[in-house]
């Protein structure tokens, strides 16, 4: 690459050609790119908010709600929705297409929230061998209706 400039000190002719040395620039770029590739994270992550109660401890300063809602993930993709307190029932939601019936769960939660609007949190539990992936799926579906999730079953 040539760069030329006209005018110079005391020279006849005036143009001063000089070559821009690209090799050191390439050298710097290579080092910078290598550093960036090693340190950059291409994984976009999100956060789900949840809470956990210490086993055997209950929040002493809060007024107990009228009803307590609990969703449990059972084996073979079965969901159990349990309400206790002023109203009691236990509904089991069988799987749909061999997967969790999230539409039925959301419908159930919507009905509960219509009847008990003060219910803003629920307890989420699961059988011992249920994988974290399934918990997140159910949690994501439930949070659209009931925003607060408390892990239980300790």
């Amino acid at each position: 690459m040539n760069v030329s400039s006209e005018g110079g000190s005391g020279g006849k002719g005036g143009s001063q050609d000089f070559d821009l040395n690209l090799a050191p620039i390439i050298d710097c770029f290579t080092v910078l790119i290598t550093f960036m590739l090693v340190s950059a994270s291409f994984l976009a992550t999100g956060i789900f908010d949840a809470a956990a109660e210490a086993p055997g401890q209950a929040a002493a300063d809060t007024k107990p709600p009228a009803v307590h809602l609990e969703v449990t993930l059972l084996d073979q993709s079965t969901l159990e929705v349990k309400l206790s307190g002023k109203e009691k029932f236990t509904h089991k939601l069988p799987p749909k297409d061999q997967d969790w019936n999230l539409a039925a769960l959301q419908s159930e939660l919507q009905q509960i929230q219509k009847k008990w609007p003060e219910v803003q949190s629920m307890t989420l539990a699961a059988s011992n061998e249920i994988q974290y992936l399934h918990l997140i799926k159910v949690m994501e579906a439930s949070k659209k209706i009931i925003p607060g999730v408390l892990f239980g079953g300790f």
Binding site: L22, L43, G46, F48, A52, P55, N128, I136, E140
Partner: protein, 168 residues
């Protein structure tokens, strides 16, 4: 005749190959600009260990700065320090106490809490935090997670922030 001579005249091709450095500089500039744009210098960047697959989820909650617990198939790390080993995502029986709380993890959380308390005592602007980032493999069974959550809650870390990979 002269055409024949031309036909049979072998052109000596130059054996020198010139490297197009200008094109390389162009490519490198574009790559560098892209990497600079995606480079994150924040301390809250979550880098799961190789082999750890996060569950997918759509979450709009913002990233927070908190003590990080990583649960993988072979072990648990707290703030990138190995705390205990797991056997296919399960705690060793010898590590669990009668309540199902892992002693090693409980001890680690106690140390972290002590550190936070000391910092809070020295600096009134810093308050002890209840938040904890959970970076767990999607295959982790609930029995292991239960123990981790219970241990965290016992030591005051009741505000769980579950890290998920954003869906594309």
């Amino acid at each position: 005749m002269s055409q024949r001579k031309n036909l049979f005249k072998k052109k000596r091709s130059s054996e020198e190959m010139t490297l197009q450095i200008t094109s390389m500089a162009d490519i490198f500039t574009i790559i560098l600009v892209f990497l600079l744009k995606s480079y994150a210098t924040s301390s809250i960047e979550v880098q799961p260990s190789p082999g750890l697959k996060l569950p997918e989820g759509d979450s709009k909650d913002a990233q927070v700065e908190a003590i990080q617990v990583e649960v993988s198939e072979k072990g648990i790390q707290v703030d990138h320090q190995a705390v205990t080993t797991l056997d296919n995502f399960h705690f060793q029986a010898s590590d669990l106490n009668s309540s199902g709380i892992p002693n090693s993890l409980n001890h680690s959380f106690q140390n972290q809490k002590k550190k936070q308390t000391l910092i809070a005592q020295a600096n009134p602007d810093v308050k002890p935090d209840k938040k904890i980032l959970i970076v767990a493999d999607q295959r982790t069974p609930y029995v292991t997670l239960k123990s981790v959550f219970a241990s965290a809650a016992l030591n005051g870390y009741s505000d769980l922030k579950l890290v998920v990979a954003k869906r594309e």
